[in-house]
């Protein structure tokens, strides 16, 4: 049972990292960045690329190498997110929701199959595998690396929390999410802040991608699709647009899945998660921590 909880929390922290980007972008411009899961995939592949180039050096250094790779991958996916916003979303600001959603589907497709062109259709095996010694903690087996990954995730989330609540940029973000027009009149460079939001959200997804690559050991160009859906589910459970909610939702979804898998079998895991999403949305569309969002007319 403790093992189940631990696994749930572990997977949940990945979900939470990806869900953060979803929720930030949604919170600030009410856009569902459909391609967000694919940025996670991109992160995993960038990490893979760097590790492959670095070769023997990386395997010798182990965990430290992974940390450096993590930072490179975050920078690359962050930039990709910036680019995506500039090319695909900014020209459509103020357009009907449906148009932007369709653009986002297009962006997701372009990312997935662009990566397929670059890296080929077959799954790649991650050069660094995080399978170390395990410690016994309250009857659950935990590897040091798992614990460190969770720690990184927590640090990233804490950093984000500080950024949003404690800095100028964060204040601008919150202002825009309240009222973009008023924020513009108050002298906030709305475009720049939105771009920054995209950068941060995408970088977090990229970090989760590298971590997942190191943990599962296998990556492929469609890996972002399911995780994108799960992260969205997590964001909705926590209350979309709410940063603490995304963390909470990610952990909750991870735990639910872990327990659900043990209960009804692994092949039904995704069915379980999506059914839960549908039921949850029907009963409480604003999520655990969400406030009531009124649609602007």
């Amino acid at each position: 049972m403790t093992q189940l909880l631990w696994n749930g929390l572990f997977v949940g922290s990945f979900y939470a990292l990806v869900a953060l980007g979803y929720t930030m972008v949604y919170g600030i411009i009410r856009l569902l960045n459909f391609a967000h899961g694919d940025l996670y995939m991109l992160g995993a592949f960038v990490g893979f690329g760097v590790l492959s180039v670095a070769g023997g050096l990386a395997t010798g250094l182990g965990f430290v190498a992974l940390l450096i790779v993590l930072i490179i991958a975050m920078l690359v996916t962050g930039t990709a997110g910036l680019l995506l916003e500039r090319v695909a979303y900014r020209p459509l600001r103020g357009a009907p929701r449906l148009s932007v959603l369709i653009t986002a589907v297009g962006a997701s497709f372009a990312l997935e199959y662009g990566m397929r062109l670059l890296a080929g259709p077959n799954p790649e095996v991650y050069p660094v595998r995080l399978a170390g010694d395990s410690v016994n903690l309250l009857g659950a087996r935990i590897t040091i690396q798992q614990a460190s990954l969770i720690l990184i995730a927590i640090l990233l989330m804490a950093g984000l929390q500080w950024l949003v609540m404690g800095t100028e940029t964060g204040r601008a973000m919150r202002a825009i999410s309240q009222d973009p027009t008023a924020a513009l009149y108050m002298g906030i460079n709305v475009d720049a802040v939105i771009a920054r939001t995209f950068f941060i959200g995408s970088a977090l997804a990229g970090a989760a991608g590298v971590m997942a690559g190191g943990y599962y050991g296998k990556i492929d160009f469609l890996m972002g699709f399911i995780i994108g859906l799960k992260a969205f589910t997590a964001a909705v459970i926590g209350g979309i647009g709410n940063i603490k909610g995304a963390m909470l939702g990610g952990l909750a979804l991870g735990l639910l899945e872990s327990i659900g898998t043990a209960w009804i079998g692994g092949q039904w895991r995704d069915v379980f998660a999506f059914t839960f999403l549908i039921i949850f949305l029907t009963l409480r569309p604003t999520g655990i921590l969400g406030e009531r969002v009124t649609e602007r007319v």
Binding site: L98, I102, G114, I226, F274
Partner: protein, 345 residues
Amino acid sequence: MTTNLATSPARARALFDRIQQNRYLGLVGLAVALLVPFITATNYALSVMTSALLFVMLAVGLNIVVGYCGLLDLGYAAFFAIGAYVSGVLATRYGWPLLATVPVVIVAAVVAGIVIGGPTLRLRSDYLAIVTLGFGEIIRITANNLTITGGPSGIYGIPGIMLLGVDLSGPVGLYYTCVVVVALAVLGAARLGRSRLGRAWRFIREDEDAAEAMGINTYRVKLAAYIGGAIWGGLAGILFGAQLSAISPPSFTFLWSALILMAVVLGGMGSTPGVVLGAIFISVLPELLREVADYRYFVFGILLIIVMIFRRQGLWPARAVERQSRRDQRKAEEHDVREAKEVVP
């Protein structure tokens, strides 16, 4: 005659509009579809054309949901799968003739439409998009894990269509069956779009709050659009099973839903001729581009973005027929009067 120079592009456009709105256009399309097998009737050509027809049917069905009513459904392949699996299971496990499964498939599609649409259609558009996506995955994974659907290997040995003792299971017979069914489906969807219900759909697409305020029961009307789309998708599923005689879960991935959406968007949301052309384009293009097959989904993705940014109405846009044509008429009359004045000095 300087006026003439100035108006000639407008005239060209008016001519184009007239072609676009010609009521015999559909008949011309049907005639082309009926005559093509006389030009080339290899098994390959027939199978490509049959697939294109199925795609047209799917696109027209999704057009009811996305184009008319403005509800983004990203799991449309689910209804396609439900149709294919229900008819496939009944035909292979219980020995039903394929035609007899049609009513059951319709009922199943309606139920599926209500099950997914019922609780979620009150949600905002982007929630609906994700929920339908999840629904598509649920259906596919379920088909992959149940024994009655044959699990990952799917169902094979689905019989062809028999009608009053005539065997229509050959490539030619199937093609013509599809031509008839799809023509009816296209006609039906177009007529639905022009009906009272269709006007309500477009009203909701343009402004849901205003529609609600004008006394339209938006929830029921949206559910109707959803169920309509589900039925079209389910029926296309039967034809799909008849064509391939085997179905398996990989045929119903998100890729399919996205490609159907692509056809609708590219052709022009809400425009029947546009969507038909879009579907033919999307399904035949990969056959023409076999060598660069690896690039095609990448190109499709980029294309979706470009179309949305530069030509949101699609290649063959829908027109708000009632209003537009009357205004055009008035313009044309004014134009005629002006010209008449100029000619008679």
